[in-house]
């Protein structure tokens, strides 16, 4: 087990506004971290810092050194409204996950294509490989984007709200799949939904301007309050329902 990345007393933000202060955070192989916190608390900023899109204004972030044929990250961005008419096929979308590894002028090998098709097969959507992405349902689309994140066999899989806009069936399958994948790679997952997160992740990071690392997947309301991490808690019962904190 080695450290994939280490953030040391990093402060990060945009131009004149710091979003996250003094973050210390380590992700090692086979970790499964759930990132929770209120909107605007800096969850996305943390991911941008990890992905290298934002540089820390103070402190450092260090990555594991890899061979040139290895990939550090697989990234599943938050569902944004994609252009449903955009002329790109499912297989092309999955293969785009290899762009960083193959270089912007690179070509795909037969092995790359086979890997992409195997992934689609694993997701149960191989028959859709030539479809235009916009013709797929929400759940199918998330499977494609997850395949895109996985096609480079990353050391760390980064998921930003993977369970928004998908049906319950896919959500269940997704968590089972993540459990399988966690045997091969570390996972960091941002979610609003603490209830589902705690039953699947190993550890929790509360992000609200600061980062509080909680080295267990069990967390109490008191601890959340201590971490200054007000979030919605969803309990699971026979009928799906939402329990709101007293206010």
């Amino acid at each position: 087990m080695s450290k994939i990345l280490e953030i040391s007393s990093a402060s990060v933000g945009y131009d004149d506004e710091l979003i996250l202060r003094d973050v210390n955070f380590v992700i090692s192989d086979f970790d499964f971290v759930g990132v929770i916190g209120p909107n605007g608390g800096g969850k996305t900023t943390l991911l941008k810092l990890i992905l290298g899109e934002l540089k820390p204004q103070k402190g450092t972030i260090e990555y594991l050194e890899l061979n040139s044929n290895e990939t550090l990250f697989g990234y599943l961005p938050q569902v944004v409204s994609i252009d449903k008419k955009f002329p790109i096929s499912v297989l092309e979308v999955v293969l785009s996950g290899l762009l960083g590894r193959n270089g912007i002028g690179g070509r795909y090998s037969t092995q790359d294509k086979r890997m992409a098709l195997d992934l689609l097969d694993r997701m149960g959507i191989k028959n859709l490989k030539d479809k235009v992405i916009g013709e797929l349902s929400g759940g199918q689309m998330q499977r494609v984007f997850l395949s895109r994140a996985l096609v480079s066999h990353p050391r760390l899989l980064i998921l930003d709200e993977p369970n928004t806009f998908v049906d319950n069936k896919f959500e269940k399958e997704l968590y089972e799949l993540l459990k399988e994948l966690n045997k091969e790679m570390a996972i960091i997952m941002v979610s609003h939904d603490l209830g589902t997160i705690t039953s699947h992740v190993k550890t929790i990071a509360c992000v609200n301007r600061h980062l509080h690392y909680h080295p267990s997947n069990l967390i109490t309301t008191e601890q959340l309050a201590a971490y200054d991490c007000p979030i919605q808690i969803i309990a699971h019962g026979p009928v799906p329902h939402t329990v709101l904190t007293k206010h």
């Binding site: 899109e53 955009f86 002329p87 960083g100 235009v132």
Partner: protein, 280 residues
Amino acid sequence: MFSFFSDILQYQFVLNAFWAALLVSVAAGIVGSYIVARRLVFFSGGITHASFGGIGIAYYLGLNPIFGATVFAVITAFGVEALSNKFRVREDSAIGILWSVGMAIGVFFVFLTPGYAPNLMSFLFGSILTVSKQDIYLLLGLDIVMISFFTIFFRPILYLAFDPNFARTQKVPEKLFTYILKAFLAMTIVLSIRLVGIILLISLLTIPPTIANLFTKKFKNIIYTSIIVGFIGSLVGLLISYGLNVPSGATIILSLVFIFLVARFFRFIKEKINNNQYKL
């Protein structure tokens, strides 16, 4: 009929027009497929019309109008972003403003120019007579550069257009690519003005990919089909334009619209047949 063709092929300007039609179809097919996929049609319309400002000023100063058009097209292509970022003007408003400011400057300077500007109509509606050898070489150069760029960087172009947030994580130099593609768009527009004119240019960019999209949904195939369809439409349009002595721009666009209607009809018939088979 044969004598008609052998007749017209004697003239240098007809040959120039033929080559211009071919070379413009390649550039317009590539750029058109891109702007249609990325929904940049209105943006492209803005660049096209704003370039008239450069033509007007060039006339007034006695310079090459294509040079003026290039300067204005490039300024507009980059000015929209600057205007919406630095001055907080909404992007579509910024396009609309630059669109009409360019046209206004053009009209202003054309009317200040002493004497009559005989080629002005040809800039608005296109004229095969004005295509020069120099235009052909410029078009050839643009085509070669664009074909090379799109061949080598097809994937990053496609992925950046589809999902810029993800492409960035794949180390695609977003800014550089966007600038290069904007420059290609501006150059294609400027060099197509001779053939179809400012007013009709946007159709030359958008109709071929729209026809292609009826039959294929792969970006690469849309580009190929657009080039072929654009060339057929331009050629038919040029012949009609020569035969009836009307501006080439109008006949080319009408030919393309006709091809679109025929293609849409075939598509409709094909869908009917497929549906009937399904019912049986």
